[in-house]
């Protein structure tokens, strides 16, 4: 009898769970299947605090506007964790079940962009109707964004089309625990110079020893440390960057860095690079042991648990910190060594300008969307003055639209545009050099960290640079093959429609782009051959 009762309970639980699950699935799909409701699905990976609420508010506004026009529209937000987003997105796109509006950036390449996303070139050249009645009325939609949609996620230079509409922009700052800071440093203002930052870190160490507490001066992780280390490295390579910038772009693009290395314009013994390693070593010593193995969540945990005074991350984490931390948070820009610093100053031009900070949180339109007109309309709404103001007010993130005033909590993150171009980024040029750098980064915090790190990567680095250039060349070759197919198609279409000027313009643009890619490929191959590293297929 008892056994029957227990068995009955077990079966009953199973049936109950199944019924609940079935109800939830049916009720959800019933909404989608309702012919009187048009659903636009909207996927992104921004799970940071405040963003989903802000998007939900925008969605509600949009739905209300359409309801007033007599049409039932439903916006379904689909937040997907960043770690699985690329795989999820590709699976959805290939399977034909992708949402109508998709955040692009991770897991995307030219091939996927061309295949699955609608170009928006024509649309961004026209005014956005949602900007009527605002200072941006009548302006081409492209001109209403702070970067003119010039960021790689918005404008694809290989495909020569606009594919993405951004919603935000971000800058990197140092966040600190104000209460803990008060305990350690009293009323002293946050560090304004690099030496003051180092002094503060030493004070934190002494505080921890004196009070028998674990307090990490700057918490690091696989995610956070590169922002800090990247800026430190770039500060030392400012002058070097100008020397290798053959195209006078005020930045060292991938080819310039890598080919400059092979041409001997810089190497791991160049004084500026060694100085950069020394600078990185100084800071690495103040991070927790084994920081390279810590994840973003670990670093957040340390910070909000008052085990760390400072953490370096982007403005996207501000709202999450504010919501999780039981203390007041202060923010300051990372103070890099100045030009007159006795040790690190000779390599420096001056503080970085953040004028070239591009936009982010970019969304594309699924080419195979059921209601592409409405999806495009929603994208227009998201990229409008009104929506951007609402978004920044609710989320605390910086806006991507010109003229929108950032919310009070976003003010510390406003880009500081006065300054000089950055040096070239960190030793990670592409996947092989990144692997070699990551492999030996654990050496940096050691007493002889800079020397040990340089010596360790020296053996593998030259080969890694060459392999990265070969990998880039293979990518260019694939691009050439793709473009050849498309150009053949264009030529065939031109024969059928010889007076189609739009078609002709696109064909000519693609042909020009093809020349550019072929030129880059041939130049790279020729240079590699000249330097004794002839292009090799795997």
């Amino acid at each position: 009898m008892r056994e029957r009762i227990f068995n009955g309970i077990g079966i009953g639980l199973l049936v109950l769970c199944f019924a609940i699950a079935l109800f939830r699935v049916v009720s959800r799909t019933r909404r989608e299947a309702d012919p009187n409701v048009t659903t636009i699905r909207f996927a992104h990976w921004q799970l940071e605090s405040g963003v989903r609420d802000a998007i939900e508010a925008l969605a509600d506004d949009y739905e209300a506007q359409w309801k007033a026009r007599g049409r039932n529209v439903r916006i379904e937000q689909m937040p997907i964790p960043e770690r699985v987003y690329p795989n999820w997105m590709v699976t959805q796109l290939v399977g034909g079940t992708a949402p109508e509006v998709i955040q692009i950036g991770i897991g995307i390449n030219d091939e996927r962009t061309a295949r699955f996303f609608s170009p928006l070139t024509r649309e961004v050249g026209e005014p956005n109707p949602y900007n009527d009645g605002t200072p941006l009325e009548g302006l081409p939609w492209r001109e209403t964004f702070v970067d003119g949609l010039s960021s790689p996620l918005s404008y694809n230079q290989q495909l020569l089309d606009y594919f993405g509409i951004p919603m935000s922009m971000h800058t990197i700052r140092v966040f600190y625990n104000k209460e803990l800071y008060q305990e350690i440093a009293g009323d002293a203002p946050p560090p304004q110079t690099f030496d003051e930052l180092l002094d503060l870190c030493r004070q934190v160490r002494e505080f921890g020893e004196t009070h028998q507490r674990v307090v990490i001066p700057i918490v690091g992780s696989q995610y956070n440390a590169p922002y800090l280390m990247g800026d430190l490295f770039k500060s030392q390579t400012q002058r070097l960057m100008l020397a290798i910038d053959q195209n006078h772009l005020l930045r060292a693009d991938d080819n310039a860095r890598e080919l400059g290395y092979l041409r001997g314009k810089w190497n791991l013994d160049t004084p500026a690079v060694r100085s950069a390693f020394e600078l990185m070593h100084e800071i690495a010593g103040f991070m927790q042991p084994g920081y390279l193995n810590a994840s973003r969540e670990d670093a957040t945990f340390y910070f909000v648990q008052r085990r760390a005074l400072m953490v370096t991350t982007g403005s996207w984490d501000a709202a999450s910190f504010h919501s999780q931390a039981p203390f007041e948070i202060g923010i300051f820009k990372l103070p890099l060594p100045s030009r007159d610093h006795p040790r690190f100053g000779p390599n420096i031009l001056g503080p970085f300008s953040e004028a070239s900070v591009g936009t982010g949180m970019t969304f594309g339109l699924n080419r195979f969307a059921r209601d592409s007109d409405l999806a495009l309309d929603f994208l227009r709404y998201l990229g409008s003055f009104q929506a951007s103001q609402k978004f920044t007010d609710r989320s605390g993130w910086l806006p991507a639209v010109v003229g929108v005033e950032p919310a009070a909590k976003a003010q510390p993150f406003k880009p500081l545009t006065d300054g000089y171009p950055e040096g070239f980024s960190y030793t990670k040029l592409n996947s092989e050099t990144a692997r070699v750098s990551d492999k030996h980064m654990y050496l940096l915090p050691r007493p002889d960290g800079a020397e040990a790190f340089a010596a360790a990567i020296k053996q593998e680095y030259p080969r890694a640079v060459v392999q990265d250039i070969w990998a880039a060349d293979r990518g260019r070759l694939r691009q050439i093959l793709r473009n050849d197919t498309t150009l053949t198609g264009f030529d065939a279409l031109m024969r059928l429609r010889p007076t189609d000027t739009i078609l002709e313009r696109k064909r000519n643009e693609l042909r020009e782009a093809q020349f550019g890619v072929e030129l880059g490929f041939e130049r790279s191959r020729w240079t590699l051959g000249e330097l004794g590293h002839p292009y090799q297929r795997p």
């Binding site: 690329p86 390449n109 091939e111 996927r112 295949r115 674990v214 990490i216 696989q222 927790q288 042991p289 084994g290 920081y291 390279l292 193995n293 810590a294 670990d298 340390y302 085990r307 996947s431 092989e432 692997r435 990551d438 492999k439 030996h440 980064m441 654990y442 990998a471 293979r474 990518g475 070759l477 694939r478 093959l481 793709r482 297929r537 795997p538």
Partner: protein, 317 residues
């Protein structure tokens, strides 16, 4: 069992019955064989995961044999396989101890206690262990400090190991130093009592009749003798199956290393294993064709090991 010959005519007479098997065959073909054959096909191409690819012939395979990271990864996996073989011992020991309990009730409760942790998803266990290994706030370092075992490790490092990884006042970076990564991977899962393994061995032990034990006692066998001469030989079939699954799982697997160390295999790439390198090449470097070639190499390794296991690791019935 004697083989029964059926004429082709008779077999084909009931052809409709074979249609019942077709759906399963189609599913296996689509979800098992097709991906494998696709991997074989793409291993001969320079393929970035999209539609365009370039035929390389044996280029990817030639590259395999001069890839120092891959062969280093095989070295690491060799150490882990040997360690995992030793890590089978606690499961066998626990199964024997539980089996020898005189009380059926206590046997039941021990089985329940072994099964309950299986409810916790493996991923959660991995994250908990990652927390254990945390240098600053992890349980392992706290335990070593509280029990003064850290000073033993410091002495051992100074006199024997000469690794310079254990020092007074500095938290031990278990997953942050190349020399400690492999020991940490071996230590993971302590005390290495896998519930599934214990239950499998227990099932084998329970099939041993009491008369065998009585005969052993009459012959004057001690507890250890009973284990060596009665219990272990009679559960060798299960041990062998577990060994094969363990070797295959260790060779193929990389989830543990990926979660604990990240996609680069940790400091100095000390935790890089072939499966993780394959993942790295596919999803980080975008070299899907080369990753398929690594997969093919792994397949050959596992096939060869399984062949030798079937041929030489026999259990006399």
């Amino acid at each position: 069992m004697a083989r029964i010959r059926i004429s082709a005519r008779k077999a084909l007479h009931e052809w409709k019955l074979y249609l019942f098997v077709v759906p399963s065959l189609l599913m296996i073909a689509t979800f098992s064989y097709f991906p494998a054959l696709s991997a074989v096909y793409h291993s001969f191409f320079d393929w970035g995961g999209g539609e365009y690819k370039q035929f390389l012939g044996l280029g990817n395979y030639r590259r395999l044999f001069s890839d120092p990271v891959l062969w280093g990864a095989f070295g690491t996996i060799g150490i882990l396989i040997i360690a995992n073989i030793f890590k089978m011992i606690p499961s066998i020991a626990i199964a024997v101890l539980v089996h020898r309990l005189k009380s059926d009730r206590w046997q039941y409760w021990y089985r329940v206690l072994l099964v309950i942790p299986m409810i916790v998803p493996g991923l959660v266990t991995l994250f908990i262990w990652k927390f254990f290994f945390d240098p600053t706030s992890g349980l392992l370092n706290a335990f070593l400090d509280a029990t003064h075992l850290k000073s033993v490790l410091i002495e051992l490092d100074r006199e024997v190991l000469h690794w310079n990884v254990f020092a007074e006042g500095i938290p031990i970076p278990w997953l942050g130093d190349p020399k400690l990564i492999v020991p940490s991977l071996i230590l993971w899962g302590f005390p290495w009592i896998g519930a599934v393994g214990v239950l499998i061995y227990l099932a084998g032990l329970q099939s041993i009749g009491t008369e065998v034990y009585e005969a052993a006692e009459i012959d004057g066998a001690s507890s250890l003798d009973k284990f060596w001469y009665v219990e272990l030989p009679l559960i060798l079939t299960q041990v062998r199956i577990n060994l094969v699954l363990l070797v295959i799982g260790t060779l193929q697997g990389f989830g543990l290393q990926f979660l604990l160390l990240g996609n680069s295999g940790g400091a100095g790439q000390a935790g890089m294993v072939p499966g993780l390198w394959m993942f790295n090449k596919a999803f980080i470097a975008g070299e899907f064709g080369y990753a398929c070639a690594i997969g093919m190499l792994l397949f050959v390794f596992i096939l060869v090991l399984t062949y030798f296991n079937n041929k030489y690791v026999r259990v006399d019935k």
